[in-house]
């Protein structure tokens, strides 16, 4: 609320977030924001505290101090489910779906979560057009429509990634939190997904945590670099490429 | 209530707790190392008691009975592990509960088949009969005191076994990382059988020791089993230290509750009503204790691996 000028437009705003595990400062005074229409990439070497940060944004970890504003609302004390209902869609580092359900029923669950109507005990979901039609639509969007009736456990790795994406989109999110979506996709899959995310940014802003630098540099509007729990730089791709600290702390190791 | 009576009841509580510890130690090890819920642990307790009573009557020596019950329960445990239990490690808790429930039926009915429905009785060995005078003028049965001392010695021995020996090292490794221990080339099947037989021997010993205080009969194991579960859940599943502290806590709360709660309610109720309210509450006390502890610490007091 303080410096209103550009922050008012931010979708997600982390302010001086702190989280320690014993003596280890996993999140050390992190401040960053995600604005409409942008892909904001979060990068950092292993152990930089990316996962801890994601857990705090998603709601599975409580920060020790600092604020998490989402659409202008303080989100710190909300549960995972409440945050999802507010419009925080996410995919997981290791795909997380309901393995015994078909792809369609997985997406239907998301539609149901978005509608906020899980305490209906009598009408069969398979006769519920409002669920089925929307779910099919989402599957079509991610290109998984012809696999709609396959049990999730039998989908390939890449297809499960697509399914997760469809589930996240079905929430009609105001922000997508993508945790290493390229992991294990192979060069061809990564390329396709990169193209897809590129078109998606106009629909919903994305906070992208990714190891694949090629994808990050081709997609990101802004990049935040996290090292030992601290933000050492935030800026455009060119800024980050030119930043001495980043080259030293991070990119140097990659070469 | 006099101080002497209070002390006596407190010691009874500790003695009960020690018994529970002998049961709980095996349960918590088996769960911690193998991830198995074993409802049939109470059957091993019963087997220990029956073997001790039978051998003691046949040979006239309580001590031979005690040794036989240790060996017999360990052997029964090893056989149980090899024939049935090891098929259950990879199964979910549901299958484990059902299979070991089936084992209870088999052992209980099998024992009734062999020994009949009448309870057996076991005499306290002559050397441990009578009472001792404790400081403060408290008179306390020698046998119960011996159980407390033996139990504490076993707890110490178990602690040394787990923290100081090669076997103990493997047990601890098995608790934290099952893949690693087999990668280290330890024969995990044998280790599991040994851990299970060790737990069985302790349960059998508990049964034999209690057999001289109570009657030896079919079905004696299950009430103790459920208390032992309460103990390990309070103490934190997988933790032997938690089992010891949890066991003494449960033993003392249960015993003292039965004495103190009716007296407490008598302060402001008529006697008959106070007795019924007090004893109703006393019989629920340890379960209330457990609910409170789990509501505060869902993993128990000393959660292993936390």
């Amino acid at each position: 609320m303080a410096d209103a000028a550009h922050n008012d437009t931010a979708i997600l705003e982390l302010n001086q977030l702190q989280k320690s595990f014993g003596a280890l400062k996993a999140t050390d005074d992190v401040t960053l924001d995600v604005r409409p229409g942008e892909i904001h990439a979060l990068i950092g070497p292993n152990g930089a505290g990316k996962s801890t940060l994601i857990h705090q944004i998603a709601g599975s970890l409580m920060p020790d101090a600092g604020s998490i504003q989402f659409l202008g609302e303080e989100m710190r004390s909300m549960s995972v489910a409440q945050r999802a209902r507010k419009g925080l869609g996410r995919t997981f580092q290791v795909s997380s779906v309901a393995p015994e359900f078909s792809a369609l029923r997985n997406v239907m669950l998301s539609v149901q979560g978005m509608q906020g109507s899980s305490f209906r005990f009598f009408k069969p979901v398979m006769r519920d057009r409002s669920l089925i039609d929307q779910a099919h639509g989402r599957l079509r969007e991610v290109g998984l429509e012809d696999r709609a009736n396959v049990i999730a456990a039998e989908l390939s790795h890449g297809e499960r990634r697509q399914l997760e994406m469809a589930m996240a989109l079905a929430l009609q999110p105001k922000l997508l939190l993508l945790d290493e979506p390229m992991a294990g996709m192979g060069p061809e899959g990564s390329k396709q997904l990169t193209g897809y995310l590129d078109t998606l940014r106009h629909q919903v802003p994305i906070l992208l945590v990714e190891h694949d630098m090629e994808a990050v540099f081709s997609l990101a509007d802004r990049i935040t670099v996290l090292v030992y729990g601290r933000v050492i730089a935030t800026g455009s791709v060119a800024d980050i490429r030119a930043n001495r600290d980043v080259r030293e702390a991070y990119l140097g190791e990659e070469d | 209530m006099t101080l002497a009576l209070f002390t006596e009841q407190l010691l009874n509580g500790v003695q009960f707790g020690i018994m529970l510890f002998l049961m709980a130690a095996g349960l918590t090890l088996v769960f911690g190392v193998m991830g198995l819920i074993n409802l049939a642990h109470g059957s091993l307790y019963m087997i220990g008691a029956f073997i001790c009573a039978t051998v003691a009557v046949a040979t006239g020596s309580f001590w031979l009975g005690l040794i036989a019950s240790l060996a017999g329960a360990a052997a029964a445990g090893a056989v149980m592990e090899i024939v049935v239990i090891r098929r259950l490690y990879a199964r979910d808790h549901l299958d484990q509960v059902l299979a070991t429930f089936a084992l209870i039926l088999i052992f209980s009915e099998g024992t009734r088949w062999v020994f009949g429905s009448f309870p057996l009785y076991l005499d306290i060995p002559p050397i441990l009969q009578g009472a001792v005078f404790l400081p403060g003028g408290v008179q306390y049965p020698l046998y119960r005191l011996a159980i407390i001392i033996a139990g504490l010695a076993i707890a110490l021995g178990l602690y040394l076994l787990i923290s100081r020996t090669r076997l103990g090292m493997r047990i601890r490794a098995g608790e934290s990382d099952r893949e690693m221990i087999s990668a280290l080339g330890v024969d995990i099947r044998t280790l599991y059988t040994i851990v299970f037989a060790l737990g069985a021997a302790l349960a059998g010993l508990a049964g034999a020791l209690v057999g001289a205080i109570q009657s030896v009969q079919v079905g004696m194991g299950e009430p103790v089993l459920i208390l032992a579960f309460v103990v390990i859940v309070i103490g934190g599943i997988g933790s032997v230290k938690g089992a010891l502290i949890g066991a003494i806590l449960v033993g003392v709360v249960d015993t003292m509750g039965r004495i103190l709660l009716p007296q407490f309610f008598a302060l402001f109720m008529e006697n008959a009503q106070a007795t019924s309210v007090g004893s109703a509450l006393a019989s629920m006390a340890i379960y209330i204790l457990m609910a409170i502890i789990l509501a505060l610490k869902p993993q128990g007091l000393f959660a292993a691996g936390a």
């Binding site: 899980s118 005990f121 979901v125 | 509960v97 609910a291």
Partner: protein
């Protein structure tokens, strides 16, 4: 028609036809046996909602079974002695009217389930198994040591409670009441399974992190399922008390929790008609083996053990193949 649907019809119609066949063959005792199957299956149908759909391994459902039984026993005792239950703040008298008893049993079990569920559902895995067991034991010991309603000796129902328009003393009519209750609850749980709530509940079992990420709070879903589950098992308890015209703490014992669980697992976890198949097989085994040897429990144990070790998916798993989740 799918194979499981056919088997379900055979099971349901078989149960319904069995007492008529028994009466035709002049074996009235079998009517009581079928009634037992129906009631115990109902208890299992209740547990199956928590266990099969929601993955909550409750080892304490005897609590609800017993509470249902005590509701029937206590209300009818007060009606029989013409003493009110409470005189303050409201005058509440006993009743021997089954529908009223059922309603009270369902409501009380639901309330107890709210209390137990709020505490136990914070835990998971083996802790959940043990703490549900502990709550059931708590109630068991309470029933034993509370002298007003018979304590350890239990409570007799001198005349079976009545149902408007029916003669409940006629075994066949009482069977039909129990069978109808079972069928209604089966229908309800079939609808529940296929509903939005059922979808959320099944995902709570499969992957509760995912459920939360779709905006549905797993704890709320589990709690409501636990309550529904408890209410059905409580209804079964009320019927069971009327069947035996007797209720005692043994209905609350942990062995009963184990047996209800056995019905569910024996029939096939999460299968709609699993509890009926399981309860029927269990009662038949008990009855048949009991006629052959007094040590029937020994053989029952062996058979159960064999089923767990070698037959995955229970009876319906064998007959109808894998579960179909669509």
């Amino acid at each position: 028609m799918k194979r499981e649907t056919i088997i379900n019809w055979v099971l349901g119609l078989g149960l319904l036809a069995f007492p008529f066949a028994a009466l035709y063959l002049d074996e009235p005792f079998y009517v009581t046996l079928a009634t037992r199957v129906a009631i115990l299956a109902l208890a299992g149908v209740g547990l199956n909602i928590a266990l099969g759909l929601g993955g909550m391994v409750s080892f304490g459902h005897a609590a609800f079974f017993g509470i249902g039984g005590y509701v029937a026993g206590i209300l009818s005792q007060h009606a029989f002695n013409d003493e009110p239950l409470f005189t303050w703040p409201l005058l509440i008298s006993g009743t021997s009217d089954m529908p009223v008893i059922w309603l009270v049993a369902i409501v009380i079990c639901a309330l107890v389930a709210v209390f137990i569920g709020l505490i136990t559902l914070r835990t998971s895995g083996v802790y959940f198994i043990m703490i549900t067991l502990a709550f059931a034991q708590m109630i068991y010991y309470f029933a034993i040591s509370w002298p007003s309603y018979g304590g350890e000796d239990g409570l007799s129902i001198y005349v079976r409670n009545g149902f408007p328009g029916l003669n409940t003393l006629d075994p066949l009519q009482f069977f039909l009441i129990c069978c109808a209750a079972l069928m209604v609850c089966l229908l309800l749980s079939a609808r529940l399974r296929d509903s939005r709530f059922g979808a959320a509940l099944q995902v709570a079992r499969q992957n509760d992190v995912r459920l939360a990420a779709t905006g549905i709070a797993p704890l709320n879903i589990r709690l409501v399922a636990f309550i529904i589950s408890a209410a059905m098992t409580g209804l079964a308890g009320a019927l069971f008390a009327d069947l035996n015209r007797f209720v005692s703490p043994s209905m609350l014992s942990w062995q009963v929790s184990g047996e209800i669980m056995i019905f569910v697992i024996l029939g096939g976890v999460g299968r709609l008609f699993g509890p009926l198949a399981g309860a029927a097989l269990f009662i038949v085994l008990e009855f048949y083996l009991g006629g052959v040897t007094e040590h029937w429990q020994f053989f029952l144990g062996l058979i159960l053990l064999g089923v767990v070790l070698f037959v995955r998916g229970g009876l319906l798993g064998v007959l109808a193949g894998r579960r179909d989740h669509g």
